[in-house]
Symmetry: C2
Subunit: 197 residues, 2 copies
DNA sequence: TCCCATATCGAACACCATGTTCGGTTTCTA
DNA sequence: TAGAAACCGAACATGGTGTTCGATATGGGA
């Protein structure tokens, strides 16, 4: 708990634990993963684990935050070359690259805890983008937070389906579906051009 | 486990356990509800619980199935007077009536287990309706199962938000948002009239 | 109404995961 | 190279789980 140091040992430990958790989440549900499982997989001592994280959930959250940080960075980077609501195609590509990781979290036996946490963070990100984009005088026939939830849940829904199908489809195809599902509604709501999402 | 009898005692026991679980789910997360909590609330003996259900999850599932049965019955009944994809307004009204129950499941500390199970059953119901409704020659630019997931997840998203807001809005208002979110996309996909959803 | 099958009770039990403690060992870094 | 800090791992207390079993209560058929 006090190991916030840059000490190589600490970093190595946290890395091992995170990797182990992700491996395990591709094998079984989060709830049925035991701290001991993680320790065995990571070759880390019991007390060391509790020196870094208060429990399983804590470790999971730290991993989610990592993934979100990555996506956010990726999204804002892609943004500069390709402004819009959400550089969705780039995101779908990113997901394909980070397959294992994303799979563990969004799809895997990945815990429903994260369906909330992850989806929540995703929603916040989208709402923020929406706000920056809406016409000054937007008459909210549907409140903005709902629209954000709507977009985020559709995005994640497609992601899960994509994984279900073993990612046989290309990012372009998935992105195309995303656009088809989300754009008519957005156009309808905004009653103005919002460009490509 | 063998008490599938119509014996009054069995029914009373199951009823009590179900009620207790729902009460508790309005107070805390499913994961942190203990079998003992349920027993105390329901005034049922420990061994009796295990005579009916193999575990907490099993009890939860049986309750979900009950709710789904109700919604299905309600939906198909409303259907006869008001055909369409989904008698969504009627459903939102039904939800408002069954407030406590629905709240426990869809919103409550209601467990994420059910976000999967419940949403899955809901999706199946919608997909079935969609199939009966689509034009014979429907060119699926987006596969039907995805469309069903899309509709179901939007429906549940609105339900959760409604509960978050203490149900201050009317079923009509919520239904209006639902229509605004879902209809443009459906029309776009079907490229034909599907009537009111 | 009576009788018996069966449901319920509840205490006791074995089991297992959790999170803590602590003395000893290893590893980093200054 | 020395000392601070991280790691190890065995041992422990705690608390929830699911089972067992003999005793008691209750419902339904005759």
């Amino acid at each position: 708990m006090r190991n916030d140091k840059d000490d190589r040992r600490s970093k190595r430990t946290r890395q091992s634990l995170g990797d182990a958790l992700i491996e395990l989440m591709l094998e079984k549900h989060f709830e049925e993963i035991t701290v001991q499982d993680i320790l065995d997989r990571a070759n880390i001592g019991r007390s060391t684990f509790y020196a870094h994280y208060s429990d399983k959930e804590s470790l999971l959250i730290s991993q989610i935050e990592q993934v979100i940080r990555d996506m956010k960075a990726y999204a804002t980077e892609a943004d500069s070359t390709h402004p819009g609501l959400l550089p969705s195609l780039e995101l779908f590509r990113h997901v394909k690259e980070q397959r294992r990781l994303m799979q563990a979290f969004v799809w895997g036996r990945g815990a429903e805890l994260l369906t909330n946490d992850f989806q929540g963070k995703m929603t916040a990100l989208i709402e923020q983008k929406l706000r920056a984009l809406i016409p000054a005088a937007y008459e909210p026939s549907v409140p903005l937070p709902i629209v954000a939830k709507f977009v985020a849940s559709t995005f994640l829904l497609l992601l899960r389906w994509w994984f279900d199908e073993d990612m046989q489809h290309t990012p372009e195809q998935v992105n195309d579906m995303f656009q088809r599902l989300v754009m008519p509604t957005l156009h309808g709501l905004m009653m103005s051009e919002v460009g490509e999402v």
